[in-house]
């Protein structure tokens, strides 16, 4: 199973879940908000909304991602493939969430993307940790 296959898996998972839809709706609303009220609201507050937006987009499909990571472990995926799976949804969702900030300025877009990616990756790392813990426990039980 190559990296492309893992990427395809990640994309399929995203299309099947609700996270992408939530992310698109949130990004659209943020874009309208920035357009309507961007000049009045301090930029840090607007940027701040991106954190819960990207995080909740991933959390809504947390179980699906967790299951997929577990499957990847079970089929013997390499660490690189696991990392690819973790990065793909995080990057796509962060990019979508960060898009509305283009109107504010380049610095804010970069900052928004970094923050968003960090928060999304935190969720994925959490899923991975739970997967590892659960997987190792079940393996231990099976071998006993």
């Amino acid at each position: 199973m190559g990296v492309i296959a893992v990427l395809t898996l990640a994309l399929k998972q995203m299309l099947r879940g609700h996270g992408l839809k939530v992310c698109l709706v949130a990004a659209l609303m943020l874009a309208i908000l920035i357009k309507v009220a961007g000049d009045k609201v301090p930029d840090p507050v607007l940027i701040g909304v991106m954190l819960p937006a990207s995080t909740s987009s991933l959390i809504i499909d947390f179980r699906a991602h967790y299951s997929m990571l577990r499957v990847l472990y079970m089929v013997g995926a390499t660490p690189r493939q696991v990392k690819t799976y973790m990065l793909a949804p995080s990057t796509i969702l962060s990019a979508i969430c960060g898009a509305p900030y283009v109107t504010i300025g380049a610095v804010w877009v970069v900052l928004a993307l970094i923050l968003s990616l960090t928060s999304s990756l935190t969720v994925m790392i959490l899923a991975l940790r739970i997967t590892k813990k659960g997987f190792l426990t079940s393996v231990a039980m099976y071998t006993q």
Binding site: H18, A26, I32, V45
Partner: protein, 545 residues
């Protein structure tokens, strides 16, 4: 201290919220209070333990890290809503008669009596570009008294509620009369216009002033207008567009300083100012900005044949409301996404708790408490911040966002967190009859065990217990009151029959209620009672072998 409209709005919101919570608390306590048997039995009050249980369960849900995301979302979106709030000043335009002496004039009512210098400074600082050479300022001291003063003249005592202080020029222009400055000369409509008498004014504190009072036609005072459409007498209210002013017999007119001295107000203190420009310097937009200053109460703007009455009440703009709704929608989408991730564990928790005897409304209370703590409390904090730093309109916008988010989140959680069994599965009520077979044959001991199972029960209070044993049979009748709900109880009939190989115990229950009780609660009570007796007998028998 004067009360602003924003403060009053927030105070009303606060009082309404407090009243609702108090009502709900009283309602809850009233529902829970009538449990006299509990005190007699020496057990802890079920209300307290129930509140503790609900509080602990809410805390368990609250400890979930996802809560932090919901709180962050609510705080940020409410802040956006507050920052993006905008308002406009409301005004009403009237047509007035032509032929007056002013091209443009602005009459400003201050919210309280202020020194002339302060008033002058705030007018010039706010209307940038104006200077003293371009405008003419005319001052007025119109005091509406909370405690009336008394005027004694010609052996009569008159009650005065309004004091009007005008400059000499204004007295001439508006009332076609004059008073001698510094001589304590006053004008009063209650005596004959030709009269000029010595009188005594008794102030609210009992201090007496000797004054000279001259008569003035009451009609002239009532009809006098500072600018067309603005009466000289202070406007108390409006009937339609017609201003209501106090009757002239309650009004004493005089020089500004003379009037101020009667109520112990410092010299040069004024309440209103007329700003007249001959060159058309004013525009409506500047004046609507002017009334945002806390010192101003109302502004009249005369522009040719139009009179604008500009109020200090700020109305949120359509754009502001759109931002509030958009913020709420964004917050709702994100919060529901997080809540849907929270749902599986929440459902699981409620299912386990309901098996252990949690009534169906327990989940609703936990949902309410949870959503209030994660959405309303941060929302209200932002509202307070907005009110303090950004103003009343921003606070209103933030409140709208927070409340909409909370309401939608609460609705979603309430609908989705119910155990699926209650809505989708086939309904199967618990049986009213139950038969258990025991290998032991001692009927007396079995009866005693049943009696023990019904006594000392945390769910039921044993009201009656009758038993009759004859030969191989024993009949038991018990009446129990359900502690958790007032006026609900159960009648239980048990037939114990000894057979060759053991003992048959036939249990039949009937649940009754004084008031109408839902079927769900009835079945819950039935299941609790049957399981109590059956469980006790089974464990008793197991312990024998």
């Amino acid at each position: 201290m004067s009360l602003s409209a924003d403060f009053i709005l927030m105070m009303i919101t606060y009082i309404a919220a407090t009243a609702v919570f108090t009502y709900l608390a009283v309602k809850y306590i009233k529902t829970e209070s009538p449990h006299p048997p509990e005190r007699e039995s020496g057990r802890r009050s079920s209300s307290i333990s129930r509140i503790t249980f609900l509080g602990k369960t809410t805390w368990v849900v609250l400890k979930n890290p996802l809560t932090l995301i919901i709180m962050t979302t609510v705080i940020l979106t409410s802040l956006i809503s507050g920052y993006a709030a905008s308002s406009h000043t409301s005004y009403v335009a009237f047509n007035v008669e032509s032929g007056h002496e002013f091209t443009q004039a602005v009459f400003i009512e201050f919210s309280h009596a202020i020194p002339k210098d302060v008033a002058k400074k705030s007018i010039y600082s706010l209307t940038k570009g104006l200077n003293e050479s371009e405008v003419r300022l005319t001052w007025y001291a119109r005091h509406v008294l909370n405690s009336p003063i008394k005027l004694r003249c010609n052996g009569n005592t008159y009650v005065i509620y309004v004091l009007l202080g005008l400059s000499t020029d204004e007295l001439k222009r508006l009332l076609n009369t004059s008073v001698q400055e510094g001589a304590h000369e006053l004008l009063y409509a209650g005596i004959s216009p030709t009269n000029e008498v010595n009188a005594t004014v008794i102030a609210a504190g009992g201090k007496a002033f000797n004054v000279i009072v001259k008569g003035i036609p009451g009609n002239a005072l009532a009809r006098a207008e500072i600018i067309p459409g603005v009466p000289l007498l202070p406007v108390q209210s409006y009937i339609g567009t017609k201003p209501v002013t106090p009757p002239p017999k309650y009004v004493l007119v005089g020089d500004i300083d003379a009037v101020n001295s009667l109520i112990s107000v410092p010299r040069d203190t004024i309440t209103d100012v007329l700003v007249v420009s001959g060159t058309g310097l004013f525009n409506l937009h500047t004046l609507t900005q002017l009334v945002r200053n806390a010192d101003f109460s109302r502004v009249w703007f005369l522009d040719g044949r139009k009179l604008y009455v500009i109020s200090t009440v700020q109305i949120p703009t359509t754009r502001s409301m759109v931002v509030a709704l958009l913020s709420s929608a964004t917050a709702t989408v994100l919060c529901l996404a997080v809540a849907s991730a929270l749902l599986p564990s929440l459902k699981n928790l409620y299912l386990r708790l309901s098996i252990q005897g949690m009534p169906p409304w327990g989940a609703s209370i936990i949902n309410t408490a949870y959503t209030m703590l994660v959405a309303l409390v941060p929302g209200v904090t932002v509202v307070l911040y907005s009110y303090h730093y950004l103003g009343g309109v921003s606070a209103f916008n933030s409140l709208i966002s927070a409340v909409i988010t909370w309401a939608l989140m609460f609705t979603y959680l309430s609908l989705k967190s119910k155990p699926p069994k209650l809505r989708t599965d086939v309904y199967s009520p618990p049986s009213q009859r139950y038969v258990i077979f025991l290998r032991r044959k001692e009927i007396t001991e079995i009866v005693q065990e049943i009696s023990r199972s019904l006594q000392g029960n945390e769910f039921f209070e044993l009201l009656e217990f009758e038993t009759k044993a004859q030969g191989n049979e024993a009949v038991i009748h018990a009446r129990l009151a359900y502690i958790e709900s007032w006026g609900v109880g159960a009648d239980m009939s048990i037939l114990v029959t000894s057979a060759d190989e053991g003992t048959y115990v036939n249990i039949s229950c009937m649940i009754w209620g004084i008031e109408e009780v839902s079927e769900a609660i009835m079945n819950n009570v039935l299941a609790l009672l049957l399981s109590r007796v059956v469980g006790r007998l089974k464990s008793w028998e197991l312990s024998q072998y």
